[in-house]
Amino acid sequence: MARSKLQPGVVIDGFTVGDCVHSGGMATLWSVTRPDIDRPILMKVPRVSEGEDPAAIVSFEMEQMILPKLSGPHVPACFGTGDFATQAYVVIELIPGETLYKRLPELPLPYEEARVLVAKIATALADLHRQHVIHHDIKPSSIMFRATGEAVLIDYGLSCHKHLPDLLQEEFRLPYGTAPYMAPERMMGTRSDPRSDIFSLGVLLYFFTTGVRPFGETETLRGMRRRLWRDPYPPRQLKPDYPPWLQEIVLRCLEIEPVWRYPTAAQLAFDLGNPDQVKLTARAEKLKRDPITTVWRRRFNRGLVQPETKPSDVAVQIATSPIVAVAIDTSEGGEELNGALRVTAQRILATLPAARLACVNVLKLGRLTIDRTLDEAGNNKHIDRMVALKHWATPLKLDASRLTVHVLEAVDPAAAIIEFAEVNQVDHIIIGARRDSVLRSLLGSVSAKVAAEAGCTVTVVRTRAAAREIDDEEDEVAAKVVG
């Protein structure tokens, strides 16, 4: 293998090498340029020398394979790779600023700041999982932020991609990664469960809101294995003012069994984005760790709680755990259509036990009139709508943790629904086509606009009676399911 001959001025595959900007344990970073690339880029070069840990080489190979496959704002753009036969490198976009690691001295952060921060990371993670990649090293030093606010996940040396060979599969006899953040199932050798990343993000959220790492800083295998049976101190025990909703979220991420965690990072982002809608369970109430009998049962009955025998799969996990939003019109006369919407929602939810449903209603604001929160009889319109949405959902008999209700206030109902879906990473919108053609001709069809412009699957529900009355040319697009 050729020794690294990198120095300023050298040209490698069209990249002119500039200064060495960082020299770390595993790799060095060089600022480079290429005439056709007009933004700052970096060349990451592995440290390879005699006696060096071969794992460092394999990790670098993994990055070389995965980085060129990734796209979007939550990953560094990749501009080229070079292999170990000549000069091993990856050239990636320079993300200005520091990693989250720099913020450790400020911990604990205010709850609201941590909520917003971790919601951004969860959104980035959801995007990465959608690209078939499990990161496997989520921790503060793997996370940066763009000037525009999006979280960027860096360092893919321990990652695996569902559609690429996992070069690390036989490389290590012992679990490899960052001990304080590593999910319990990783100790058992599982590398295919995206919920391992959700655990790591839970560790980060716990650490950032309490200032304490939930499983300490132990690096020994024995110490690491404790998390297979020992639960962390509930944050409320450490900080009496810790919000119960936040503890609910943190402890759900840190569940020992992956199946009890959030099924997807998108669902975690959803709860972080809607804290008032988080369903509080016994997790939120916990003020002490589990009793020693529970811990012993877990410790000495591992056979009962082995990781699922069915291997988990990042794509299947996402596909079976969608966020479904149903747009409900609570005004008089919509009962038949609302019934049909419920039937459609029921069909979708029945096949997907990990799906969650967001019921959405738009409180339409006039463009010119001064809106009042109270109606003529003095009732709070917003609360009335919430009650109506919950009433609509009651027959679905959904577990409260799978159901949320949202009243949006907007001038343009279609735009509000589309934006809600965007912000909350909704996978599927169910919306009814109204029969009242007088109203529709005044407002334009909400369902048609949502079907045409939403960034996800849209199902438009129409009752037979409404379909007969509908003006064909007006609502053509809405009759279809748009994927």
């Binding site: 071969p54 080489i57 394999v58 190979e61 070389q64 394979m65 060129p68 790779t81 292999d83 170990f84 036969a85 091993a88 569902k162 559609h163 690429l164 060979p165 996992d166 070069l167 599969q169 036989e170 490389e171």
Partner: protein
Amino acid sequence: MLLAIFTDIHANRQAFAACLEAARARGAERLICLGDIVGYGADPEWSVDTVMEIVAEGGLAVRGNHDNAVSTASESMNAEAQAAMEWTRGRLSAEQRRFLAELPMSVGDEDRLFVHSEASSPQRWRYIQSSADAARSMIATEAQVTFCGHIHRPALYSMSATAKMTSFTPTANMPIQLLRGRQWLAVVGSVGQPRDGDPAASFVTFDTRTRELTYCRVPYDVDAAARRIRDNGLPPWLAQRLSMGR
């Protein structure tokens, strides 16, 4: 240069024609056949002629165990394969039989090796069924990338500089860069008799410049190929298994 690599055609004209068309559509510049051109299927003449043309145009071909059995009756084969082989011998011309008999057991091309079964002892027709089998083949060759067939199920193995193995079941149409730091063994799925549960025909492309390997799946007219087998009085199971992909 974009290579298209086919194996285990097994006289399935419909599948081979569909794969050739798909390979041309992807811009393949050189065609390579890893053997088992005949056996099982009902169009051995057309299949051999097509591979002869490929070779005449600068492509490569190596010998498979069924190609070998056309002239060497000693190959151990199950009853159906034996029956199909008897039938196949009667169909091929002397020139076609000579072409099959003279095919090389393996061919090296730059840092690549093409072989039907595996590299350690190609004439023994051993299957690559595990990482251990793959390791034995890779240790036996200097080639950085070995392409083989024989088992009718696509797989990709690699061995690191420290002899650590990886195994992988590839996804169709997902290019994989074969990094130079390790040795690779690409097991190509069968054109004419897939056995991984997917009846679609299989081949791979390999870009020698970017070193990207892509496993391709091509749906074809399975019913027509099965009909040809039944119409020619070949064992019915050979027709049935095509639609099941096993």
